[in-house]
Symmetry: C2
Subunit: 226 residues, 2 copies
Amino acid sequence: LIKISNLTKTYNSTAVPVHAVNNVSLSFEKSEFAAIVGPSGSGKTTLLNLIGGLDTPTSGKIIIDQTDIATLSESAMIDYRLHHIGFVFQAYNLIPVLTARENVEFIMLLQGISKQERRERAEELLTSVGLEGRFDSRPSQLSGGQQQRVAVARALASRPNFVLADEPTANLDSHSAEALLDLMEALNQKYEMTFIFSTHDSRVMKRAHRIITLVDGRVDKDETKK
Amino acid sequence: LIKISNLTKTYNSTAVPVHAVNNVSLSFEKSEFAAIVGPSGSGKTTLLNLIGGLDTPTSGKIIIDQTDIATLSESAMIDYRLHHIGFVFQAYNLIPVLTARENVEFIMLLQGISKQERRERAEELLTSVGLEGRFDSRPSQLSGGQQQRVAVARALASRPNFVLADEPTANLDSHSAEALLDLMEALNQKYEMTFIFSTHDSRVMKRAHRIITLVDGRVDKDETKK
Ligand SMILES: Nc1ncnc2c1ncn2[C@@H]1O[C@H](COP(=O)(O)OP(=O)(O)OP(=O)(O)O)[C@@H](O)[C@H]1O
Ligand SMILES: Nc1ncnc2c1ncn2[C@@H]1O[C@H](COP(=O)(O)OP(=O)(O)OP(=O)(O)O)[C@@H](O)[C@H]1O
Ligand SMILES: [Mg+2]
Ligand SMILES: [Mg+2]
């Protein structure tokens, strides 16, 4: 489904160039439930951004569903992301002027989903991440972990083929984190959604079916549980 | 050192009022190393903000060093915070146009510390949180966990009497988290700095000397290890 070949992203803003992602080659099949782990600064966010087409590589290829995403025009990439990729950002990136409900409905609105269906799906997802009663709160009225859960609900609402989640449980207590993992596993089973998350959280690592370890931008280990 | 009596913070923006902090009474002595834990939304950030004078209570008292901080004028509170409190925010709140080094030096500049001393202390702290070589990077050029470590270095640079740290290890791998805890414990011992952090991280809870558990804005448990 996703084939990454010799992917490199280099930044030249510092005295010594930073190879945030350094010659990475990886493949992901449909329905994977994979965790990318590694020290702070090892390249997890950069790798997820490259896979999601939010950033462009310095060199190397990313082929998704037999499309080399580097060849897509900007509008084709935006369109592809809208219909196929759900992204949970490390800093959530919620729209401050919209309520939790509106943030979750927004992507479905862009996808042309009916008002009725948007409303039902948004309420169902916000409830399953434990935010019942807070649908009409704005991000500034929510705790860090509550904002994180809105960001997750938003990524799942469009029922994407794949979800790229950057440290989706960083601000959650164990109970909320486990509930989130239950939800993601259920969607993985039911809709065959592929999940690729970066994490520092051992509770998430325990439930991943595959763990890819990055060190200094390189793949250090790639272990599949069976 | 800190005496909190019947502290309550209520928000009325939702259909049902939210008692973010609900009749909390707590005392902290000098040199404490205490963790505030509890589910997402249980009131940890709100409590830290109230103690740090960043928010005003709905009712109740906070007495720090025999000063009822609610009686301080806004400028007296700002001045008090500048010289006595170091704050690590859940969302870091770094200044985007300043480099890591400048963000850390900024508070010392406001405190009138000499240029030479500011430079040395900033470099020493950034090095001890593992950011050597990145002093001149701006927040947007740093990973989530790197930004988190700049925020911690900034809070410690002014050698405050107390440090209020809101989930200071949320985006850190185990190695970086342990290094941060070593640093905080060393400062706690050497300068008798009082540390009060909120956390979901079991690695941090293990090293706290006291664990206060919040549930729905109330103190559910308060355990001191010996
Ligand atoms: N402006 C506001 N209006 C309404 N409710 C608010 C507001 N600010 C915070 N709250 C609510 O107060 C409660 C406590 O929030 P707080 O941020 O203190 O929780 P927390 O324990 O820090 O959570 P987390 O672990 O997710 O960071 C939450 O239910 C939150 O939604
Ligand atoms: N614009 C930039 N200029 C220079 N270096 C950058 C830039 N953006 C990212 N980096 C560097 O690339 C490296 C990888 O960053 P990335 O955000 O991918 O790490 P990460 O594994 O997600 O870390 P964390 O666990 O802390 O979130 C880091 O050393 C970071 O400082
Ligand atoms: Mg990251
Ligand atoms: Mg919080």
